[in-house]
Symmetry: C2
Subunit: 348 residues, 2 copies
Amino acid sequence: MGFVEKVRLLDYWKVQDSALQSEFPRSRLVLMVDRRLLVTKDAPEVRMVEHSYGDLKQLLGEYGLQFDLSNSCLLDALEAETDMIPLFGTSIEAADPPEDSPISKKEVLRQLGNSLGGSFTDIRMAMLTMKEERQRNLLAKFQSLTKWAATYRRCPKCAAALKMRTSKSGAECVTCQRVYYPTFSPVSITLITDPTNEHALLVRHRGSAGGVFTAVAGFAHTGESMTECARREIAEEVGIEVDSIRSLDMSQPWPMPDSSLMIAHVAVANMDQKISVCPDELETAQWFSRHQVSQALETTLSDPFLKNLPRTLDDRQTLHYIPPAGAIAHQMIRQWVDGKINCHNSRM
Amino acid sequence: MGFVEKVRLLDYWKVQDSALQSEFPRSRLVLMVDRRLLVTKDAPEVRMVEHSYGDLKQLLGEYGLQFDLSNSCLLDALEAETDMIPLFGTSIEAADPPEDSPISKKEVLRQLGNSLGGSFTDIRMAMLTMKEERQRNLLAKFQSLTKWAATYRRCPKCAAALKMRTSKSGAECVTCQRVYYPTFSPVSITLITDPTNEHALLVRHRGSAGGVFTAVAGFAHTGESMTECARREIAEEVGIEVDSIRSLDMSQPWPMPDSSLMIAHVAVANMDQKISVCPDELETAQWFSRHQVSQALETTLSDPFLKNLPRTLDDRQTLHYIPPAGAIAHQMIRQWVDGKINCHNSRM
């Protein structure tokens, strides 16, 4: 089946509840338990573990766990032998073991992970470390739709019940018939360089891991173009004005803390401006040389799970790491280190 | 006051209700009555008419009309003599005249427009014909925030009341404390060319004005990058696959029918593919030569309010116009006609 047919089939499944329901027993599924994702264990590459509907029913059943369409969302259409079948994401909660249980919940989940051929991991860490863009985007969709479907239960206009589509791609008010769609917001993420293109301004977010610096990012406001958003966010967060700005033709869905679509930009600013960070958001913002950023890139590539983060307070404010390879910020910074992002292409 | 200070002041006003309330009597305002926008009349250029708070109170009062903060949203901060003052958009309803009134409501609104130094116009037509990007983006914000604030009255999670910020930039549930923000979605809008860059594929939307063709556009789905969105929308709407696609560094907030941020792309497709339009969305999609598109651009520029649209059914399916100058599609098509968009720059 070609790309056009696949796209149109997904569009059909999204809105035709009974058609999608009848496909459920033929489907394949990826899984979250207690908001942790089932991924491959000890494999060379972090990936989501897929199961057939029948296998997952049986394996979860052995632990007294169940799933159905109510806690599942439609992620994709997969090639089967002669036609296509749905890929669902299903998100369930595991009950706490009885108080007098000899084994802890953590141990139960470890065993469950083993039985399912993987282990459960933090969603953010999975986003940051999964190498394949398709896997990351499916996880972003899984997490965003799951959270949205859990939140949109009542009509924001009239407070009547919302009838959720089986796919979780929309919900209709049973009283006023308004339709709501999963919401996510555009975010500008901007690499700021000096006019010589030999320095980059990177920031450390309040509450982020010690020693990790990244590009300036923030949600677009209603009524802004993307470049206006990037320009405003830079003024808000680091207190400087940029001379030019352009988009980089890179974007990435990102599901945490709120659902967003990160859109990459590069901007040029003079280094003699006084930096004043927004203290609610940032701990520090500093200019670094290409050599300094290159070293942090090497450290990050040689320690992709950031196991050796600095512990002392002083050292946490020093550039040691950039975000891991799954983040668009990593790809932007890496391209800049490699000389592939050039401010001289920039236009206002 | 510099750009950084202005951005930070707006950020403060957005969340500090009492500070913004105390600025209201010093503010300037733009106006909608019955969802029609007050714009300059007979001026060389369509612009929103601004009034001071005091003038607007008095002029509306003469017609028995009132406004207050509840039907106003914060749009911008303007330079005043020594500091900055807010620009609000206020949206009110005019009561119908009594049944035995000698003059119609339409005539009342015409007179009201005159008193206010302008006339009331359709929001879509204002978006399409206002020449200044700042004016269009402020109108997009005005319409989007007004509609959002009228819809988000109850918490979608728990159905308790939402407490709306004075600025209309967010609302918090009085019971569960969740915060909701005005929603708008990224949309890809894509100019499709053939590999020689001498032909463009344009579409006519179901229900759009006769003879007007434009680029393919559609809402991004959760979990897609922008180029994935563009590729899928092209498959969904016209049934073809593109070979390459890239973003154009142009974007535009657009408030109708739903709030969106249009992000421009260019894609290359082979002309020998069979076009199959999605009948819910499109009436037709056709390849046109650069000369044909250039003629439609000229027609549009010489008749910017599209007063001479074709009336007969046959002629409505022929390329006569592209969208007016206020639409991002116009700017994309114009750049392509001028040879400034070149498929040879494209990358996958």
